[in-house]
């Protein structure tokens, strides 16, 4: 524990800004994964433990497409679409067979897929750490706010993800499709009896969840090491976010992710050996005070 260091940081504007920014990008990347986890759980009642592997695939796809084309934009789009389609196939071919099974069975199936993907990635891209490097468009001097350093790419990532969060929230609450998705989460049998193909809704939710995770992997590629198994910590944190924010709530996923991101970035300074513990502590506190999560509906 290093409370003096934490004290020094929170009394210095430059340190607050630098740490908040790095907390925000941790949180924003986490949000893109956690929103999918939360939606899939909320609508399908499936614990998609393989969602972290979707994120990993997104990062590797970005590595390859960027390497071949040199266009980061193209790489991001390809990763989002590619992983979205992978999510769709995963739902149709694998996870749809264990709907209604025990959670343990679903976990087992997901774990099998995680192991297969981790090894496939090693076969295709190698077992060593890879890195994408910062794309040229973002190689500009960082912004300085009150002495704190904010790289251009960080700002881009935060703004882009916020836009996506707002669009996703609006789509779920305001559009007819979003209303159908929320109705399926509550009562799939009734929705089906009204003439709506709930199987398509399930597949669509996996497509969307996969796209968001692929996008997260793509956006993480310039700032993270890319390695087989990189999805594991992300998926664990996503479940913490889902518990903190509440199942199926986009706003909850955003707030939960940002909380986790800030806890991580400031926790590293004050409690360098207990950062992981802090996240679980935060989750425990929320569970005690509001078991359904900050934005979860009371049951």
């Amino acid at each position: 524990m290093d409370l003096p260091a934490l004290g020094n940081c929170v009394t210095s504007l430059s340190c607050i800004i630098t740490q908040s920014t790095s907390g925000l990008i941790i949180g924003m990347l986490l949000f893109l994964v956690a929103a999918g986890v939360s939606l899939i759980f909320g609508v399908l009642k499936v614990v998609n433990f393989a969602h972290g592997s979707f994120y990993m695939l997104g990062a590797y796809l970005t590595l390859t497409v960027y390497g071949v084309t040199g266009s980061f934009l193209l790489a991001v789009v390809a990763a989002a679409i590619g992983v979205g389609l992978f999510g769709l196939l995963f739902e149709r071919l694998i996870i749809s067979r264990v709907y209604g099974s025990q959670v343990l069975m679903q976990l087992l199936v997901c774990y099998g897929v995680i192991l297969i993907l981790d090894d496939l990635v090693k076969i295709i891209w190698g077992a060593e750490f890879r890195s994408l490097g910062m794309p040229d468009v973002f190689l500009k001097p960082p912004f300085l706010f009150g002495g704190g350093v904010v790289p251009v790419y960080y700002l881009f990532l935060i703004v882009l993800t916020l836009i996506i969060a707002v669009l996703l929230g609006l789509a779920i609450t305001k559009t007819r499709l979003g209303k159908i998705v929320r109705a399926v989460a509550v009562n799939p049998g009734m929705v089906s009896a009204l003439g709506i193909n709930t199987g398509l809704v399930y597949a669509g939710v996996f497509l969307l969840g996969g796209m968001l995770a692929g996008l997260a992997g793509a956006l993480a590629a310039p700032v993270r090491s890319i390695v087989s198994g990189m999805g594991l910590s992300v998926v664990v944190e996503s479940f913490i976010v889902t518990v903190i924010g509440g199942m199926g709530s986009v706003a909850g996923a955003l707030v939960g992710s940002l909380l986790i991101g800030l806890v991580r970035s400031f926790g590293t300074i004050g409690f360098p050996l207990f950062t992981e513990g802090l996240m679980f502590l935060l989750m425990a506190v929320v569970l005690v005070l509001k078991p359904s999560g900050l934005f979860g509906r009371e049951t």
């Binding site: 209303k179 159908i180 109705a183 509550v186 009734m190 009896a193 009204l194 193909n197 709930t198």
Partner: protein, 238 residues
Amino acid sequence: MSARAIIDAEGLDVFYGSSQILFALGLSVLEGQTTALLGRNGAGKSTTLKALAGLVPPRRGRVRVMGIEFQGKKPHAIARAGIGFVPEDRQVFPEHTVEDNLLIAQKRGPNGEDYWTLARIYDMFPLLSPLKQRMAGRLSGGEQQMLTIARTLMGNPVGLLLDEPSEGLAPVIVARIGELLRRLRDMGVTVLLAEQNMHFCLGIASHALVIDKGQIVYRDTIAALKENEAVKKRYLAL
């Protein structure tokens, strides 16, 4: 002219787990008529409607909707073929507004029918009009029952399966629902109305089916049933 069957079922065996609920059940509902499906609690009325709607797949037997085979099809396929199902326990979407409940169900009928619009629904169900923006979970039981019927109508069904719409409601609301069903009948909507209460069905239904222990044990006009004391006494406890 002889009316065609909107729904035609024969030899339906339905199980919940290992216990059999329906035994070789057969029935048909003719176009433009309201048919009452009467029976005691536990006789198999709800299961019959759920089997016809595809929610409880029959193990054996056939279901035809306007002559087309539909056994083993998913509920949404049967709904799109024009069969609207109104469950007994209402099943509104509690965290959606009244209007969103209606909009979710909006679709054309099997032949492109688009009679039912929000405006016509609010006209038919004036009670719902001031409650448009209210969460459906906060409605009274009677209001929820109206909403469930209205929601299914939004899908422009050709035939309507109604499961005990009068159950557990105050007499004044039951009377309003009866009035509503008469208006639907006069509009030519085909209805299969499951009920325990024969008196509720008089003046609404033209034909009656009596179900007992998972089998149809009597079929005739409802007027004939009304006069048949033996059947009423044996199967309806009247």
